[in-house]
């Protein structure tokens, strides 16, 4: 049970502060990047009229995600933010699925990954809001509906980052902890594959979709 | 003979401490229980607003404004709880 907290960390002292890099998580993230880049290259290399399976898969995913973005943002903005949405969803999907392969673990199990993605989504959403509405209208929104609601609105926006990141982190880490504990209890007989299927594949897909969908929605709320 | 809870150090249970401790528990209970009502109430408002917009989407602006005003009024007891909690924490 002691493995619950062990992490390989690389600590670099930097002018009085320590920069801590979690090596396992970074390696897993790079693995996901590699897979995504290779898939992307293969799917778009030679575009033929009668597509091969990988190209079909790529077209299916992209069209589905662009459809979601268009529903929420309208056609013009969908072209700007569509690639972001696709990249986010594919990254999260593969990250959440990585835990099924033995000896690999999900990069989203680390709060740093999910918090980073959440902050990125927040910055993009607010940048889109400022760009489309202008700075004054954006600031005045914080003072609706009553003037002294400003700090509460501000905290509400920050709470959105917290909720979106912690939800993904909690679900994925919770799933992996449950699998660990139940495997330990049942001596890894019979039950673990079903748990992997449920928590890894099923919950992983849903949570990736929810994170992506919420990012789209936050962008659309700021832009409207 | 001391039992385990008092082995190393006795908890400082004097008058002032009990009052402060009670104030903290009071603040926690006030805000905690006080958040239940407005949460449920405002949720009901939002649900019915969704239904109203579903029935009559053209009036979306008016319905949204009505919802927000209704929710703000429901919020008032929540704000009272917040005020009492903060008073208990910092003033008492």
């Amino acid at each position: 049970m002691g493995e619950l907290g062990k992490l390989h960390q690389l600590i670099i002292p930097f002018w009085g502060y320590n920069i801590t890099l979690n090596l396992e998580v970074m390696v897993m993230t790079w693995i996901v990047f590699m897979v995504l880049i290779i898939l992307g290259l293969f799917a778009s290399r030679k575009r033929e009229i009668l597509p091969r399976p990988i190209q079909t898969l790529g077209e299916l995913i992209v069209s589905m995600l662009y459809g979601l973005t268009e529903d929420a943002l309208g056609k013009k903005l969908a072209n700007t933010y569509g690639p972001l949405v696709c990249a986010l969803f594919m990254f999260l999907l593969l990250s959440n699925w990585l835990g099924i392969i033995p000896h690999l673990e999900e990069p989203t199990k680390d709060l740093n990954t999910t918090l980073g993605l959440g902050v990125m989504g927040f910055i993009i959403a607010h940048y889109a809001g400022i760009k489309s509405k202008g700075f004054k209208a954006y600031i005045s929104e914080y003072f609706q509906p009553i003037f002294f609601m400003m700090p509460l609105n501000l905290i509400g926006e920050l709470a959105k980052i917290v909720s979106i990141s912690f939800r993904l982190f909690g679900n994925i880490m919770g799933g992996s902890i449950i699998i660990l504990v139940v495997s330990y209890l049942t001596y890894s007989v019979a039950l673990p594959p079903f748990l992997y299927a449920f928590f890894g594949l099923f919950v992983g897909t849903i949570q990736a979709f929810v994170f992506t969908m919420l990012t789209i929605v936050y962008i659309s709320v700021q832009v409207k | 003979m001391d039992s385990i809870l008092y082995k190393e150090e006795k908890m400082a249970i004097e008058g002032v401490e009990i009052v402060k401790a009670a104030a903290f528990i009071g603040a926690g209970l006030a805000m905690g229980l006080g958040a239940i009502g407005p949460g449920v109430g405002e949720g009901m408002v939002a649900a019915k607003a969704c239904e109203a917009i579903g029935r009559n989407p053209k009036e979306a602006g008016l319905l949204t404004r009505t919802m927000l005003v209704g929710q703000a009024v429901s919020e008032s007891t929540g704000i009272y709880s917040l005020v009492i909690a903060l008073l208990l924490l910092f003033v008492v």
Partner: protein, 324 residues
């Protein structure tokens, strides 16, 4: 009374295990009962496909059961856990683990009953889309279990992480607060998520063509309803992992316990409220799918305002932890 440390630890573990299973059994039982009730109504309405309805009811009840199974696992672990270095601090942590899982399973259990029941009823109304309804029921119930999963994570952390050299006072109150914060806050979110999932099954049974939009808005609505339980998780983590300076003052301990109580109870109402908002939105997307975008927007606005009391509770909790 002269009690030694090992006894205190065992007492806390057994009480925690009892609480975990006791409270954890409540939710799933109520939820499964609701599913069975709706399934009976469905069969009375359409006896020819009673086989399908019956199968669907059993599947739905199985998913609702999972919250109680988490509670059972935690209770068994608490009964048989072997504590190498017993301390009163560990006793507080074990009791808190029981509280966290026990309360946390209530909401998800009751909530998961709604999609099961509505799916069974929907099959009676529209037998040809039975598989779609089952899929939607499974998706909704699975997301609805998330607060119970969070509670289980907190419970397992409280049981197995070695907190080492933390001082007894006031950290015992911090652990109890962590357990209460997560456990209580999960009640509302679990129940709310279930309301949304139930409405989605009902909506799809009314208008099968709108399934994709309904499922999307259900997932978004459920995700936002879970926010109070995530706040509870955050406060739990802070209470578990922040190192508190040793202080024998009763007020310091009570401040931490109060932080947990505040966030815990504070998560119940907004969780239920957000779930009701999501339920209304999902129900009406099924009836009026062209305006799904408008409905999603007003659902989010309404949920955001409804969450504000949860944010107040979190602010008061954080003030109690950091400032006081």
């Amino acid at each position: 009374m002269n009690v030694d440390v090992q006894t205190v630890v065992e007492v806390a573990a057994y009480v925690g295990g009892g609480l975990a299973m006791g409270f954890g059994a409540v939710g799933a039982a109520i939820g499964e009962g609701y599913t069975a009730a709706r399934a009976n109504l469905a069969i009375s309405r359409n006896p020819d496909i009673s086989g399908d309805i019956f199968k669907n009811m059993l599947v739905g009840q199985a998913v609702a059961e999972s919250a109680s199974i988490f509670a059972l696992v935690i209770a068994i672990l608490l009964l048989f856990v072997d504590v190498p270095v017993p301390s009163v601090l560990k006793a507080a942590a074990l009791l808190a683990a029981g509280l966290s899982m026990g309360f946390g399973a209530i909401g998800s259990g009751v909530g998961s009953g709604y999609p099961g029941g509505e799916a069974c009823f929907g099959i009676a109304k529209q037998p040809q889309i039975a598989s779609q309804l089952t899929t939607n029921m499974l998706i909704g119930s699975a997301v609805c279990q998330t607060p119970a999963i969070f509670s289980m994570v907190v419970a397992l952390m409280l049981m197995f992480i070695d907190f080492g050299a933390a001082p007894l006072q006031p950290t015992w109150a911090a652990y109890l607060g962590a357990g209460l914060s997560m456990g209580l806050a999960a009640i509302g979110s679990g129940y709310g998520g279930g309301l949304a999932a139930g409405a989605s099954c009902e909506g799809i049974s009314r208008q099968p063509k709108t399934a994709a939009s309904v499922t999307t808005i259900m997932l978004v609505g459920q995700a936002v309803s879970q926010t109070p339980s995530i706040f509870g998780l955050l406060v739990s983590f802070i209470l578990m992992f922040k190192s508190f300076p040793e202080s024998t003052a009763l007020s310091a301990a009570m401040a931490l316990l109060a932080a947990g109580i505040c966030m815990g109870f504070g998560g119940i109402g907004p969780g239920i409220g957000n779930g009701m908002a999501a339920e209304g939105a999902v129900r009406w997307v099924a009836r009026n799918v062209e305006h799904a975008g408008d409905l999603m927007r007003i659902m989010l606005v309404g949920q955001a305002v409804s969450q504000s009391t949860a944010i107040y509770a979190m602010v008061v909790s954080l003030v109690l932890i950091f400032v006081v």
